[in-house]
Point group: C2
Chain length 347, copies 2
Amino acid sequence: MQIGGEEKRRATIYDIAKVAAVSPATVSRVLSGRNTVAAETRGRVIAAAENLGYRTNSLARSLASRTSDIVALMLPDITNPFFAELVKSLQAAAFGAGYTTLICNTEGDPDLERTYLNQLLSLQVKHVFVIGLTLDRDTVQDYVAAEMNFIALDRPMRHATSVIVQSDNRKGAELAVNHLIGLGHRRIAHIAGPANVALSRDRRRGYLNALAAAGLDADDALIVRSDFSELGGARAFAELDRRGGDFTAIFAADDVIAMGALSAARASGRTVPDDLSLVGFDDVLPARFTVPPLTTIRQDAAAMGDRAVEAMSATETKGSRRRRFILPVSLVLRGSTGPPPKRSATC
Amino acid sequence: MQIGGEEKRRATIYDIAKVAAVSPATVSRVLSGRNTVAAETRGRVIAAAENLGYRTNSLARSLASRTSDIVALMLPDITNPFFAELVKSLQAAAFGAGYTTLICNTEGDPDLERTYLNQLLSLQVKHVFVIGLTLDRDTVQDYVAAEMNFIALDRPMRHATSVIVQSDNRKGAELAVNHLIGLGHRRIAHIAGPANVALSRDRRRGYLNALAAAGLDADDALIVRSDFSELGGARAFAELDRRGGDFTAIFAADDVIAMGALSAARASGRTVPDDLSLVGFDDVLPARFTVPPLTTIRQDAAAMGDRAVEAMSATETKGSRRRRFILPVSLVLRGSTGPPPKRSATC
DNA sequence: TTGAAAGCGCTAACAA
DNA sequence: TTGTTAGCGCTTTCAA
């Protein structure tokens, strides 16, 4: 196979046109898959293209057609395993739909977000998948006005209307806490996610709902905040411990937090699940390999990617569509949960 | 701030030229930062550009100039935490040098690699950072002939000459194993990485070197292979166990493998580090939060990204340069290693 | 079904 | 220091 190196210059549609004895316009028609070309002509063009080792210049195509087959995914933290899985699934789905996905890691920094968005705009990128933009409403609206199409994943965009694909976070939290309550736990702590992320609120709400439904009182002393990191989880556990430690179970806002809490719990001398039960959220791969493996709420990253790409294609074809896709979640039972220790069990 | 939405059409350099009463060429000169323009003219152009809410069309620029400020990073598995950290550091370094980084997750699939490479070629992307391509030599050479510049990260490209930036893997393995030997271990197992990845060989070599230097015999029964995943690590431990389990320590080819092995070891009833010591490689963030925290060899992902971008810039300015950058590694002591259990210590 | 011709928005000689 | 003139490689009317 030759890729176009030997010759100084890469073959263009003009070269093909010459060889196939047709006009460049016809070559363009064949190559971009329009069906308005005679089968015989099309055959000649395709043969010529192959002989010449032709390869489309996407730049020129996008410039002339004002379209782009690049889409982007902006996310705050590529090292979060759930996002990494989401990247994978989205990239695969987009690829299947003929798009190449540009990944932009923003660190939750609005300046970086703006810079990336500007870059994307100048690349004529139309569709941007977003996991929790921190940019203010007005700025986002400017990009929308410039005809960018945003598709929110996992978390809605603050103050902006866009398609959103997310899991049923409240329900997931309820499943988690109901599971703990079912095991006999009465003092259940919650390590919540950052206040500025909507899903933190949803999961916290689910936690409170489940407690209320079981007739248990919520206790603010049993709720602490953390960012979505192991370190955050470890610190949050320490804080909980400092406040008295009167709890037999923890529902953490995500698996990474849970892993950090698990580590800190162990360091403080507790055994999981004998002294303390722990439930996470996401079901990321590493959560299967903690000691003990983590009981958690499964989010379907693959479905999220698929749904998001479908939503994008839908806006392509027929303008606006369904704005909200809520994906189901499920409880995954593993080793980090069990009945509360006898001595502190309350009935 | 207006981004160009209000007007139907985005402002071009022609619009600016009209407003600033200069030629489009001069506008181009100003906007692309060439210094051959009078200060007064430049001022007028910049003012006009700002008024019009101008934004560069990178597509047109790349098409005309045959350059691109997009670079790509191809890697086999974005969910590997070490790669995720590398993505972060490379992206930051490239961004600092004025480039936007396209991340391509290949799953180690040669077809996907080829597809991505073709896409990149048609985007006029010149520099591609690569973590372990699986494509065959001839195909890679085709891309090189098409003037792609490859920069290998972490692992050399098979059969291809390119700049390579990697850690001192052999040395790292020696540090790890020497540490275990220093603690008194004599039967040290090794979970090696995949055979087709060069750094697996380097780390294995370091393991063997360290044993030999200490006058210890290597034992093939104590070496098993795994891919770089938790599941692989868990299976490898099971295999080691099945073979008799006559070892007091394990040196794993990376942290993810170590985490899997840790999980399996625990499931088999062993306590780390009392019954078994464990050393990983990479020093990824989650390795700090295992129970116990993982003793490991630290690779400097940030330095790797920086060096890689420097190497890229060097080829930009003055053709070929240093071909090999070897980064130092260091031993990070944490809780997963200790002296061998009394009953099986051999002296 | 096909071709001619005019761009898409920018850069890059070459002159002036 | 600045302007003129061709393109870069493709798409897209409009005619034929």
